[in-house]
Amino acid sequence: MAARTVLQQADIARALTRIAHEILESARGVDDLVVLGIPTRGTELAARLAASLAQIGGSDVPVGSLDVTMYRDDLDRNPTRGPAPTEIPAGGIDGKTVVLVDDVLYSGRTIRSALDALADIGRPAVVRLAVLVDRGHRELPIRPDFVGKNLPTARSERVNVRLEDFDGIDEVTIL
């Protein structure tokens, strides 16, 4: 079966711009915002989102990455990829509004790991979750605050997010 494209470059850009507006609306401005992407695709999405936030909100938003590999509960079952760097912006996360950014929300286990990782780094005032695609099938009581696209899927399907920096093209496909 051929892959079906569900989001194209313009759709992804629009979704991120909308999410940026929603974040600014709920946080009432860019003050105290910190955007953290979950490697690998989340990091790139976080950078784009931060750029949008800066453009709309009028001042720079600290952006970084949060690696969750060391906090996963399935290290035994999945062939592990090496951990990726965690880069926390200079201002830290204590008392800030942290927006976690990931490409696809599925079981929710990555986000659980991310929350554990975050707790070891500091104590944010608020943690929000922004994802490009929510494909359902949650295994934990976790929900996103900002969603690019809700994508009903079967468990057997695969959702692939490709981004320019990694894959040379911006698109989301389902297989």
């Binding site: 906090y71 290290l75 062939p79 592990t80 090496g82 760097p85 965690t86 070891d120």
Partner: protein
Amino acid sequence: MKHLLSTKDLSRDQAIHILDVTEDMAATQQREVKKLPTLRGKTVVNLFFEDSTRTRISFEAAAKRLSADVISFAAKGSSVSKGESLQDTAQTLEAIGADVIVVRHPVSGAPELLARSGWIDASVLNAGDGTHEHPTQALLDAFTLRRRIHGDASRGKGLDGVRVLVVGDILHSRVARSNVWLLSTLGAEVTLVGPPTLMPFGIDAWPVDTSFDLDDALASKPDAVMMLRVQSERMNAAYFPSAREYSTLWGLSAARFGALPETTVVMHPGPMNRGFEIASVAADSPQSTVLEQVSAGVSTRMAALYLTATGADL
């Protein structure tokens, strides 16, 4: 990676990957909360058939930072024949439920035997075997050197073209062997310097240059000088006439250190014999990485434990 037994069988990509994971581990050690939950529920056994302080403590700290349960086992002075005792011990550890066994043994190849014998399913980490290898020491040395040279931009890089002198008792040194394989895999140019009596047989086949004149070798202004410990427990054999002669000919004295460029890194795996193979002025200078090597040791062993215990792809 199931086991870490030597640096000789690591490819360049694998070695760089381990060093990069070490970078990630080192980054977590800068945080207020240094502990990671990664190996929760795993049991790491330190099986030491030979004396050690820093390696054992370093492995213990590393395992604890990753939330593993640690059992330390000092098995010194066993009168049982070696093969038999190792098998018995291994099976006992298996029964306890060890997931990773960190083994130091006076016999070269003992960790390899433990890993390949089929006695146990656990991962085996070589923490020094006889005069064979000490892979985590070489990895932490390479990590420290790469950090000194490339700083924050170390990730993904090797040590291409870096000129390293390894000075002293090459014959007995597993640290030297592991370093020779790893450094040359990473692209460094290694020169071994020491008295002819302390050079191993068959060294012609190693990917290194050799020199019997320290002053000559230092005059080439190497990027790093790695001083090895003179292993006084083996000094009863007549490898050199007197300690004083060794110190004069092969020690990094204040004068020799002073003649080095300020960019040359001075390394020592510890424990140091101050005033003997290395002068205090060299050991305590900003060019010395002795303490950086110790902290790199914890991060390196965290990386090694993580990669073996989770069976991560290399």
